[in-house]
């Protein structure tokens, strides 16, 4: 009798990049950089420079997150509306880096209770549309869902699916803007313009710290180029000696006055997850 409330859904709350493609792009970026050397430093050095530099920074950030294998974490979301009322979401996420293709992701929802036991499986693909399925516990049914929904809100929060999805380097055009200080750290500010027409954003401004290439802050501009949201990542912790993950994420919507806070916990890497943990059989079993 439980009519489903999570019918159309989500995209890719994964934060892991594509390994091989990133390496190829890095090579390309380095070559482009080398070729442009005679042009530096020229006053009024123009767009090609900024574009290359921007891409280089994005590629490096991507590269630094490579190779973690698999990961699992718990997530608590706190939604704040304009009137100060809050509601919570709780879920558990498992991630698998895949050779030669996009990552696989399995989410099990714990709260709110009406979606408890609902599970979401995503096979992201570099060269084609993602495959996404939802397991609906009331009917014990696995339902495929359209994966074109990237700009919609994830569980009613201020995070869109594309915000939580893995940031593929190819999906944006970049431009280096300036240096800045953010959260007491020196950072690069780059502009990222999505090439995917399905994106809800015209452009993003990203603050990436110089030392560790962590994403500190993002300003999102809607399709009308009005400032829409700001994301701030904080409480970074290092895992396996090299992978940084923010334990807190805060998304403020400037236009509606609402905000959502994400709290990550129980990060575990290289648990030995494999493809068989991300099949439809596994989706059906997920608890």
């Amino acid at each position: 009798m439980n009519r489903q409330t999570l019918e159309t859904i989500p995209a890719n709350p994964s934060t892991a990049p594509r390994r091989r493609r990133a390496r190829r792009l890095r090579g390309l970026a380095v070559a482009a950089l080398a070729l442009s050397l005679p042009l530096w430093p020229r006053p009024g050095a123009a767009a090609p420079d900024a574009a290359t530099r921007g891409k280089e920074i994005a590629v490096e950030r991507d590269r630094r997150d490579d190779g973690y294998g698999d990961s699992a974490a718990s997530l608590k979301m706190v939604l704040h509306n304009r009137h100060g009322q809050t509601s919570e979401r709780a879920l558990r996420v498992k991630n698998l880096e895949v050779n030669d293709d996009g990552d696989k992701l399995l989410i099990v929802f714990d709260r709110p209770r009406d979606v408890q036991g609902t599970a979401f499986l995503s096979h992201t693909h570099v060269r084609s549309a993602d495959d996404q399925w939802l397991f609906l516990p009331a009917l014990r049914r696995i339902k495929r869902i359209a994966s074109n929904n990237k700009s919609g809100p994830f569980m009613g929060s201020e995070f869109a699916y594309e915000d939580l999805a893995s940031q593929e380097v190819d999906k944006y055009r970049y431009r280096y803007l300036r240096d800045d200080r953010q959260d007491g750290q020196d950072a690069y500010v780059i502009e990222a313009i999505p090439t995917d027409p399905g994106s809800g954003y015209r452009r993003q401004l990203q603050w990436i710290d110089k030392r560790h290439y962590r994403l500190l802050r993002v300003d999102f501009y809607d399709r009308g180029n009005r400032k829409l949201k700001t994301l701030q990542n904080s409480r970074f912790e290092k895992y396996l000696g090299r992978y940084w993950r923010p334990l807190s994420m805060r998304m403020v919507n400037h236009q509606t006055g609402k905000r959502t806070e994400l709290f990550w916990a129980d990060y575990r890497f290289r648990k030995g997850l494999s493809e068989s943990d991300f099949t439809q059989g596994a989706l059906r079993r997920a608890r």
Partner: protein, 415 residues
């Protein structure tokens, strides 16, 4: 009133298993979840057949679920009983074991479960044609989206590159539930309690089902085979029975069938294309010669993301169903077109609305449906259902049901 008709010997088996789980560190609070619902239904029109005599109906249900596991989930037990209490119809009050099983998992590739199981096969929305395992709990809701538990031994073999194979061995058939004489939303007939079977084993008829499924290149494909008592009964007019309040009495007859079919789904841009098709062989409708019949449901779902510059997603559904059997049983429409629209508001309360209509192409009977749901607070959900026959010509089964248009609201509490 207590209609748990199958002796739960397996229930005893799992109970002893549960007692052995002393070593499991399962948190007692988290092991038990579920829902409780209270439902109020209003029928605006007078009932068409005595002894139906009411306009309002109050009912409640509880569906708790207990899950315990040991050895990192390799051995587990799951019990999900169900109880419904209905103010008006004694036959709608019933209990069931939706699930009551013990499962064991060996590495990542196989899993064996035994007990009352629930499985869902299929991809279409208006009909669940290939869903062969579980019997429909029709008295719960005429849309046929509620199912009874099925005793089975189920073996699942899974491989990331090869797909998923499920094999079911079953014995312990569940009969379809029907409203009683007093209940509304029933045909101009009373369905007898005492079913007849082609099989001499009756409910103990051994049954076998297999399903292979795999996903590749944006396609989900499932192939299945089923042998056993067909879940849809044939309704035979019982000429010897005394009509109750003028309504004839029908007896459900369950025949043994072989069935093979497929279900497929393809993602193409913003479209999800769907197909369910099957062929079945069993006794013909004179209960004489073997007859082979085919049925199929096909359609699509098209999703528009963020309509009217908002966060609302709009899904458009269109499906066509074909079934070459003659009118058999409470399947209202046999050559139907269904069109619907699903709005997901993507708000904090996860508000969704589904509006649709189904038409029988030959008869012309048209059925309209509106469903909505919204979360209130953290653990409460409000659901609304409004259904009616917009057009129900004389001489069709829908004609009697045209008086049973209803609005129903359900408040669900989750724990």
């Amino acid at each position: 009133m207590f209609r748990l008709t199958h002796t739960p010997t397996l229930a005893v088996a799992w109970l002893s298993m549960v007692l052995c789980f002393g070593a499991s560190p399962a948190d007692a609070q988290q092991a038990m979840t579920g829902e409780v619902g209270t439902e109020l239904t209003y029928f605006p029109r007078d009932a068409g057949q005595s002894p139906q005599d009411h306009h309002t109906r109050f009912a409640a249900h509880a569906a708790p679920e207990l899950y315990l596991d040991a050895w990192d989930g390799r051995l587990y037990t799951l019990v999900a009983p169900f109880v419904r209490v209905d103010e008006r119809d004694g036959r709608r009050s019933h209990t069931d074991l939706r699930e009551a099983l013990v499962g064991v998992r060996g590495d990542d590739y196989w899993e064996l479960r035994a007990g009352f199981v629930r499985s869902f096969w299929g991809v279409t929305e208006s009909k669940h044609l290939v869903n062969a395992i579980n019997q429909t709990d029709l008295v719960e809701n005429p849309d046929g989206e509620d199912f009874l538990g099925q005793p089975a031994v189920q073996l699942g073999l899974s491989h990331p590159d090869l797909g998923l194979l499920d094999v079911y061995g079953m014995a312990g058939f569940r009969e379809r539930t029907f409203p009683g004489a007093r209940g509304r939303l029933r045909f101009p007939a009373v369905i007898d309690d005492d079913a007849r079977y082609q099989s001499e084993h009756r409910r103990a008829q051994p049954e076998l089902a297999l399903r292979y499924s795999h996903s590749f290149l944006g396609i989900d494909l499932g192939l299945h085979y089923f042998y056993g008592n067909q879940r849809d009964p044939i309704l035979l007019l019982d000429t010897s029975a005394v009509p109750m309040g003028g309504a004839p009495v029908f007896v459900p007859y369950y025949r043994v069938i072989h069935q093979a079919g497929l279900d497929a789904q393809l993602q193409l841009g913003d479209f999800l294309l769907k197909l369910e098709a099957l062929a079945r062989a069993g006794k013909g409708f004179d209960l004489g010669e073997e007859a082979r019949t085919v049925a199929a449901t096909t359609g699509f779902e098209y999703t528009l993301v963020g309509v009217f510059d908002s966060a609302i997603d709009l899904g458009l559904l269109l499906e066509y169903s074909y079934d070459d059997r003659d009118f058999l049983a409470p399947g209202f429409l046999d050559d139907d077109v269904f069109g619907g629209m699903r709005l997901a508001f993507n708000d904090e309360a996860s508000t969704t609305v589904l509006a649709g209509a189904a038409t029988d192409v030959h008869e012309g009977s048209t059925f309209v449906n509106l469903e909505a749901s919204r979360r209130l607070g953290d653990s409460l959900t409000l659901e609304l259902e409004a259904r009616a026959f917009a057009y129900a010509p004389v001489g069709t089964p829908s004609h009697a049901l045209r008086r049973d248009a209803y609005v129903q609201t359900t408040l669900l509490t989750y724990f």
